[in-house]
């Protein structure tokens, strides 16, 4: 029998039919999607113009997250006064096509990927396609998730399928204990630095190894979420007891005898021993240190202990030019120590790092401390549910006492489509996923890092090594 990877099994089990003889292109059945207000409107307009219906409305969920304000008063006005055309059209579309909607004031509103996973709508063995590149998050549950554009959202809504080209497969194994101060964010940033921003373009990654097994589900989500930043269009962790335990507590997970049936199916979801991968990468967790980006691409990252590399250290003229341009944009020079870089903003949020575990980790750094003078610090919980839990646990209070603004949920300053914008020339320590030019605002400067490292930078007023702040403590 042919040994198959978990990725192969997921594609095979969702193949309606081949579209070419070799089976490299298939008509792929998609289990479910989540829609947002900014990438979906033209898809719905397309359906309206062609007089088409949604194939399976119950397999879609609408969540407002990208453009909404996270300030309570503005948000309420946005909702009640129909001030935002994208939000109001989204409401019309979900109503007219009979799709469940978590609108701005809904108690389950939040960042789409946080909402989907906290409800139990993401289960092992499923395939998701959604109009947001970070749909790769869902692979943490042993499912396949990938981002699509608006035309494919329309295709999905009309047909429940996509014409899909099989990816090559990459196995990334991370082994060994993670040392204190390091998080899942540091693992994935180290991976991206190692293989490059296009290192997994055309690939689906399976993450394996003892370090990945030891991670919480939140940590696995962070890793799969950010795998798209090295080009992966699918990032999978095989499900295990930790996955099942996490799912068993979620509101829309199956229960009773259905749960037992489901688990026995899910236990079969792993790559066969010896299944061939097109590429393998091995990483020793002992080599991982807290990571920070210095440039404008997620692979332009180094351990916080290091200095910005000399331009001569880059291979080839193109990469050197890229680094030079990035440093000019960032207002930095080769040889500068990362810990010498002062910040103006600290942002904790996004689908990468705004779950309860992330907020706990950041708040443990902030307890009894204050945000440095001259730093504006904001925390935007991943969902309204995360927000409620954090308030109940007292975490919200720790953030506020430290001088952080405690906001309502949304994508917010990760991509600055709302009113949370880093001004030109200012510098932000950010728990998000992209440090592109202009990402957090025109001429804004972003340094990606873990939520605990953002909290530490907020307190110090400059980028700092979390391990220097609280020796020996664990988060």
């Amino acid at each position: 029998m042919i040994q198959r990877t978990l990725y192969d099994k997921l594609v095979d089990s969702h193949t309606v039919r081949k579209l070419d003889e070799a089976g490299n292109e298939v008509l792929l059945y998609i289990d479910r999607t989540v829609l947002n207000e900014y990438t979906s409107p033209q898809a719905f307009s397309g359906l309206r113009e062609a007089g088409r219906k949604v194939f399976r409305p119950q397999a879609a969920l609408g969540v407002v997250d990208h453009v909404n304000s996270t300030r309570p008063a503005i948000r309420k006005a946005q909702s009640l006064e129909n001030r935002d055309r994208q939000i109001s059209y989204f409401g019309e579309n979900c109503r007219d096509f009979d799709i469940e909607l978590f609108d701005l004031l809904h108690p389950n509103q939040g960042i789409e990927h946080v909402v989907m996973t906290e409800l139990g709508l993401v289960l092992p063995g499923m395939v998701f396609a959604a109009g947001d590149s970070h749909t790769t998050t869902y692979g943490a549950f042993g499912s396949l998730g990938f981002g699509i554009g608006t035309s494919d959202i329309e295709h999905y809504l009309a047909t429940q399928t996509l014409a899909y080209t099989r990816l090559r497969t990459m196995l990334i194994t991370v082994n060994g204990p993670l040392s204190v101060g390091n998080t899942a964010k540091d693992i994935i940033m180290a991976v991206i630095r190692r293989i490059g921003a296009d290192g997994a373009t055309g690939f689906a990654i399976e993450f394996a190894g003892s370090t990945i097994r030891q991670l919480s589900m939140e940590g696995r989500m962070t890793i799969c979420n950010m795998a798209v930043e090295c080009g992966a269009r699918g990032a999978i962790v095989a499900p295990d007891d930790r996955t099942f335990e996490y799912l068993s507590a979620l509101p829309r997970s199956p229960s009773g005898s259905l749960w037992d049936t489901a688990v026995s199916n899910w236990q079969t979801l792993s790559s066969d021993p010896g299944a061939p991968f097109d590429k393998t990468v091995e990483i020793d967790a002992a080599d991982i240190e807290p990571m920070v980006t210095w440039g404008t691409s997620p692979d332009q990252a180094i351990p916080v202990t290091q200095a910005i590399p000399a331009l001569d250290s880059f291979q080839g003229a193109e990469e050197r030019n890229h680094a030079e341009r990035a440093l000019a944009y960032m207002g930095l020079r080769p040889g500068m120590h990362m810990t010498s870089i002062r910040i103006d903003w600290a942002f904790i949020g996004s689908c990468t790092n705004a779950r309860l575990e992330d907020l706990r980790s950041a708040s443990s750094v902030l307890k009894g401390r204050k945000v440095a003078d001259g730093v504006r610090a904001i925390v935007v919980p991943g969902s309204s549910e995360v927000s409620r839990q954090a308030e109940a646990e007292g975490i919200a209070r720790i953030f506020m006492d430290a001088g952080f603004e405690w906001r309502q949920s949304g994508c917010s300053m990760c991509l600055a489509m709302n009113d949370d914008i880093v001004p030109a020339g200012e510098r932000c320590a950010s728990s998000t996923n992209r440090n592109f030019e202009g990402r957090q605002g025109f001429n804004s400067r972003t340094h990606l890092m873990s939520p605990a490292m953002v909290a530490a930078a907020a307190v110090c007023g400059h980028i700092c090594d979390i391990r220097d702040m609280e020796p020996g403590s664990a988060y």
């Binding site: 309606v16 039919r17 579209l19 292109e25 008509l27 059945y29 289990d31 900014y38 990438t39 409107p41 033209q42 307009s45 113009e49 062609a50 194939f55 399976r56 119950q58 994208q86 289960l123 063995g125 499923m126 590149s133 990938f146 699509i148 554009g149 608006t150 035309s151 494919d152 295709h155 009309a158 047909t159 429940q160 014409a163 080209t165 921003a197 296009d198 373009t201 055309g202 080009g231 269009r233 829309r252 997970s253 199956p254 229960s255 259905l258 749960w259 049936t261 489901a262 199916n265 691409s297 193109e318 990469e319 341009r325 991509l415 992209r434 592109f436 030019e437 202009g438 025109f442 001429n443």
Partner: protein
């Protein structure tokens, strides 16, 4: 949606040889506030094309003749990485770009191109480097999708493209219409699939 077929086109090619040009750069967030596809011309590479006060930056290639009339782009690797925003592709089409040649493309962007009649061609880096030189000289090239050949004044290259994608671009095919012809296959698959996994429907509203 009507898509203009791509069969054979000639025109000026502009070079943007940096690697990892992302969709935030191709179409900044300020231009993502619409509910239709229109009005994205101004947004394309906005922060490269315009200063903070809105005046054109004379040094940027797409602001200079003859590349301000470019029909094609040749770029660095991993073009279109980052956000899934199809607005990037809509905008490029609206400023008249009909083909992009690069050593590699980000996956979502690559798929978005095909849906909008934008031909994305992957070529090895030595060949894109030759095209960058052609672009810098301001010489026109011809791209023939029927024959799968790019012809420049000094050379020509064959290129590969997945056959389904090629047919879609040649015909301007409505992809949804084509898939809906397989509706019975989809319905049969779905019925069997959901029956075998009874816990899935449980999660639904």
């Amino acid at each position: 949606m009507h898509i203009e077929p791509f069969i054979r086109k000639s025109g000026i090619i502009a070079a943007l040889p940096s690697a990892n040009i992302d969709t935030d750069v191709i179409m900044p967030k300020t231009f993502l506030k619409g509910i239709d596809r229109s009005g994205l011309k101004k947004g394309v590479f906005h922060d490269f094309r315009f200063d903070a006060d809105g005046s054109p930056r004379p040094g940027f290639v797409l602001n200079k003749a003859p590349w301000n009339k470019a029909e094609f782009l040749v770029t660095g690797a991993n073009f279109g990485c980052g956000s899934s925003r199809e607005h990037a592709v809509w905008g490029l089409r609206q400023i008249g770009i009909s083909a992009i040649i690069a050593p590699s493309f980000a996956g979502i962007f690559y798929d978005n191109c095909a849906k909008n009649g934008l031909l994305a061609i992957t070529l090895p880096a030595d060949k894109t480097a030759a095209l960058v030189e052609t672009a810098r000289k301001g010489k026109p090239v011809t791209i023939d999708l029927l024959a799968r050949v790019i012809t420049a004044p000094d050379f020509s290259f064959d290129f590969d493209i997945p056959e389904r994608r090629r047919q879609m671009l040649l015909s301007g095919l409505d992809a949804i219409g084509a898939t809906l012809e397989m509706r019975r296959d989809i319905e049969a698959f779905q019925a069997r699939y959901l029956e075998e996994r009874p816990w899935l429907a449980w999660s639904e509203r």
